[in-house]
């Protein structure tokens, strides 16, 4: 089991610094998670650290493609506004 980074990523490095497994590496166009190293932080932390610090909605998904930080969950901007500004996606 491993988390993944989507194209929403803005390469801010925040997750790299907090990953307990050193599983996140720089790549183009955005950072990636090494699925051999990622444990989703089980045993280390109550929350997956990359998802706990990531400032960008929809940038981290689980194996089912579900957003750990769905649209509106971090900024509090209502869904209809996100849709109006093209900032909303259904799933990865």
């Amino acid at each position: 089991m491993a988390l993944q980074i989507t194209e929403s990523c803005v390469n801010c490095w925040a997750c790299v610094d907090v990953c307990p497994n050193d599983a996140i590496f720089q790549d183009k166009p955005h950072f990636l998670i090494d699925d051999m190293k990622c444990t989703e932080c089980l045993g280390d932390h109550a929350e997956a650290q990359c998802a706990a610090i990531c400032p960008i909605e929809m940038a981290i998904v689980n194996e089912l493609g579900e957003f750990l930080n769905p649209p509106g969950s971090l900024t509090g901007i209502p869904i209809e506004k996100l849709k109006e500004f093209g900032l909303w996606r259904e799933a990865a």
Partner: protein, 500 residues
């Protein structure tokens, strides 16, 4: 594009600059400081109103990560055409940052200050931030170092800050009440958890206050930045000002919220109003009773280079720096000469008396005047001014209030910019917009002005004045104030006689 970036945490705006001299006539805002502190800030453009006319600063964008979310920030931003805190075009590694700083310092000898201000929170990137400071203190000991932070990780880094000889720190403090904080900060990342709402804001506030105290106890100068968010913290900032002063901050910089829908921030998308110039000034004046207020901030980018209010970043992109050959030993000699001569000039100026309001009857009302100035004198053509410097004349003297940005409407094609340009689709001409920018001012001083703007200004109740071209700004403002006084229009009894 290398590493796309992002916006930052706190509005890490640093000082502001104008191309004019006498920004700040009111008795020097820093005059209450003991000599050793004054010596520390006299060549720091973001701390000393006077210094910002002569000394330059630069920011290096080595700190992309952030540990909080602010509602005025969008972490997705990467824009080279925008000038506001948190925006950068090119993220640098510490090694690249050193190269850039040495190149800029050699090229712009009056650059005295290197700040790390984002685009995230510098202290949420401790390795990249302190590696940069470490190398710089070795290779360029003549550059002052400073850092801006949202304060969340400040207490744990205070010793490291002191160790690197960083003697200027800016903390963005928007509130001291967690209920208000919850409206500004949706979450923080703290001890491996995302903590939302009031609980998160409470931790952030505690850390900011603790960090502020720890820094001042160690003799490190602290400036506090606050973003004025109408309806959220506007009244509350007076209390913030009082508290941070008690805890030892030496300067408070209240900046207006920047919120446009196209910035993609919470406040932008929710169309939260930015404060008007009058609201900002009123609050700054209200806080001024408690402590020195900074009014010359230009809310610059996290990778700004040059004098405040200008950005020469384009001259120093990494590809250009890579081919520059810098001899820093030689540059340091030249830098010292330049610094000494500027300081000498400033000291000579300090002895010069400010224009006095003699002959102005007591009880005269203050008058706001806009000045199209450059290098301390009334020098700009009305249609060429990129910004107006707003001064207040009163029986107490002349003081700088703020700068207001304009849009150029005169392309300088003809002799005198009489023409008024209406952009396609615009509902308001640029000239009308500029006149609106001058709201509240009764006079506009410039070196020259066209026929059409003259008429429109008069119609708007603003008297154009081109009589003081090339005179020092403060003297010109006082001279005009005295002219108005002679007409009797400054006294309350004369109000009824005033013609619109």
């Amino acid at each position: 594009m290398e590493l796309p970036v992002i916006s930052n945490s706190g509005p890490i705006a640093e000082g502001g600059g104008c191309a004019s001299s006498g920004c700040g006539t009111a008795p020097d805002a820093l005059s209450h400081l003991p000599d050793h502190i004054r010596a520390k800030v006299q060549d720091h453009p973001c701390y000393s109103e006077e210094a910002h006319h002569y000394f330059a600063r630069m920011h290096v964008a080595v700190a992309p990560a952030c540990n909080i979310q602010c509602n005025y920030c969008n972490r997705k931003y990467d824009c080279s055409n925008e000038s506001r805190p948190g925006v950068v075009s090119e993220l640098l590694t510490p090694d690249q940052a050193i190269k850039k700083v040495l190149a800029v310092a050699a090229e712009i000898p009056q650059m005295t200050v290197l700040g790390i201000a984002g685009p995230g929170d510098p202290l949420a990137n401790p390795e990249r931030t302190f590696e940069t400071f470490q190398q710089l203190s070795e290779k360029a000991p003549d550059i002052k170092l400073c850092v801006s932070t949202n304060g969340l990780s400040l207490p744990e880094h205070v010793d490291e800050i002191a160790k690197h000889n960083i003697d200027h720190v800016t903390i963005t403090i928007n509130c001291v009440d967690p209920e208000i904080g919850a409206k500004i900060y949706p979450w923080i990342y703290w001890q491996n958890k995302r903590i939302r709402g009031v609980e998160g804001a409470k931790i952030l506030i505690e850390q900011q206050q603790k960090g502020l105290q720890m820094l001042t106890e160690r003799g490190i100068l602290v400036k506090v930045n606050s973003v004025l968010i109408p309806g959220v913290n506007d009244q509350h900032l007076k209390e913030v000002s009082k508290i941070v002063k008690e805890k030892g901050a030496f300067l408070h910089n209240v900046m207006p919220l920047i919120a446009e829908p196209e910035h993609g921030t919470y406040y932008g998308i929710m169309e939260h109003p930015s404060p008007t110039d009058a609201e900002l000034q009123e609050l700054q004046d209200a806080c001024a009773g408690d402590m020195a207020m900074m009014r010359h901030c230009r809310q610059c980018r996290a990778d700004a280079v040059g004098l405040l209010g200008e950005d020469r970043g384009d001259e120093f992109t990494m590809d250009k720096i890579d081919v520059m050959d810098v001899d820093y030993e030689a540059a340091m000699v030249r830098r010292k000469e330049v610094h000494d001569s500027i300081i000498e000039k400033l000291e000579a100026k300090r002895g010069v008396a400010k224009p006095k309001a003699e002959g102005i009857p007591a009880g005269s009302r203050p008058v706001l005047m806009a000045v199209a100035g450059k290098n301390g004198v009334v020098a700009e053509h009305f249609g060429h001014a990129k910004e107006f410097l707003i001064y207040e004349a009163s029986p107490e003297g002349v003081r700088f209030i703020s700068h207001r940005k304009t849009e150029l409407y005169c392309g300088g094609m003809d002799s005198c910019g009489d023409g008024d340009v209406v952009e396609a689709g615009a509902t308001e001409s640029l000239l009308d917009r500029n006149i609106r920018v001058l709201e509240g001012c009764e006079v506009v001083l410039c070196s020259k002005i066209g026929y059409e703007p003259w008429g429109k200004l008069e119609a708007a109740g603003i008297a154009p004045n081109g009589e003081h071209a090339m005179e020092p700004i403060e003297e010109a403002v006082m001279a005009v104030y005295k002219e108005i006084a002679v007409t009797g229009k400054l006294l309350p009894a004369a109000e009824s006689l005033k013609v619109a």
